[in-house]
Amino acid sequence: MDYHELDDSYLVQLITRAHADALGELYDRYGRLVFSLAFNIVGDEAVAEEITQDVFTSVWEKAGTYRSDQSRVSTWLSSITRYRSIDILRRRGARPEQYSVPWGDLHAEMIPDQISTDERAEELILQKRVRAALAELPAEQRAALALAYFRGYSHSEIAAELGQPLGTVKTRIRLAMQKLRNLLDEEDHA
């Protein structure tokens, strides 16, 4: 079987039937995404690798819980990754050394044009789309959303970090998410 040709959700189906090669292919597609997200949350390569291993192990064990009608495979993976990473961040009680969350300078962070495979090409397109959408948000909305997304902060922690009232923080996050939803959704149907 040429796993390379199969779509994501079919790979997950094969994983429920214990096809180890399907897990390998899924890792080749999303291992980097999972690892990068974990690293950006916990700020430690070794811990990020452990989380990545943990995520793919739980995919192996729990592939049956994936619902293809509800989300993309990448969404499912990134949500498991984000939850685990934030959980570890909280339980360690330590904050990453380099404190700044990503998205500081979306225009300056150029994405390298080293396209080697079709999958990488798709990944790069998604990266550019998402960053372009984020760049359209006012900086203060982006800052609040980044602390919620990458640090798992609560409203009040975000308010304290940014020195803003709670209500302002809530509004900023709602507006940011609604705008992203519209921007990214439009493009989905474009």
Binding site: R32, L33, S36, E50, Q53, E61, Q70, Y83, D87, R91
Partner: protein, 244 residues
């Protein structure tokens, strides 16, 4: 909350995990009954999913792929039915593989406790507890099964400085794939997650616990059944509980 009152404005915070447990539960209840809000929820989940692509990308070490495929790969050879990985051993191997301050003695201790608890069943675990309490400066908290899991027992072992601990459980029912057990650190109305874990067919499970505030500052501990990955606050049946 009535179906008529939509909760659209709460959805962004809901999918980001920013709502408190009560609000979350209200949103969940509404979503079960309202297709319009459910559609909105899925759209926002996709947005949160896409945000993963915004993080600067970085390659993991090339050995990681092999490490990940090792476990299932070997088991899949003879598999017509999916094997059940022995989570306990995986987790224990994981502890040994990742040293962190103050954990070494704890791990050795944990292993001994596990071996002992594997031999001593039921009420004897409480003798073990008394024994440990006499011999060791570590604090040992016994957890008792609730009506939902009357056979279950457990111990939470807390390090001298109170910042690290290990949970060992026995005779908990094995859950289906959609659910996991979650430990809660309880103080007044506050419930802090101590982590999620599963048990195999044997009913044994182990969880390494650390917390921002000393574990010894929580007067009570509880374990509930939650959707896989855990919940922001307890939502499911309580199976074990105990007090400091």
């Amino acid at each position: 909350m009535a179906v008529e009152q939509h909760i659209i404005e709460l959805i962004p915070e809901y999918v980001l995990g920013l709502l408190d447990p009560v609000e979350s539960q209200q949103v969940e209840q509404h979503l079960q009954a309202c297709a319009a809000c459910r559609e909105e929820e899925q759209a926002h989940r996709q947005v949160v999913g896409l945000l993963a692509y915004s993080a600067p990308q970085k390659d993991p070490s090339s050995k990681l792929r092999q490490r990940i495929l090792q476990v299932p790969g070997t088991q899949a050879i003879q598999a017509t039915e999916k094997p059940i990985p022995n989570q306990f051993w995986q987790k224990l191997a994981h502890f040994f593989g990742s040293p962190s301050p103050g954990w070494v003695a704890l791990t050795v201790f944990l292993f001994a406790a596990w071996l002992l608890s594997a031999l001593l069943l039921g009420a004897q675990i409480y003798q073990l507890r008394a024994e440990l309490a006499r011999q060791s400066p570590l604090q040992v908290i016994a957890l008792k099964g609730t009506e939902s899991a009357p056979e279950a027992t457990g111990v939470l072992i807390v390090s001298v400085d109170g910042t690290h601990g290990a949970l060992v459980v026995d005779r908990l029912p094995k859950l289906d794939e959609a659910n996991e057990y979650q430990l809660w650190l309880i103080r007044d109305d506050h419930r802090e997650s101590g982590g999620v874990f599963s048990v195999g067919k044997s009913g044994y499970g182990v969880l390494y616990v650390s917390s921002e505030e000393p574990l010894s500052s929580y007067p009570s501990f509880g374990i509930t059944i939650e959707p896989a990955g855990g919940s922001p606050g307890p939502t499911g049946e309580k199976v074990l509980g105990g007090d400091l």
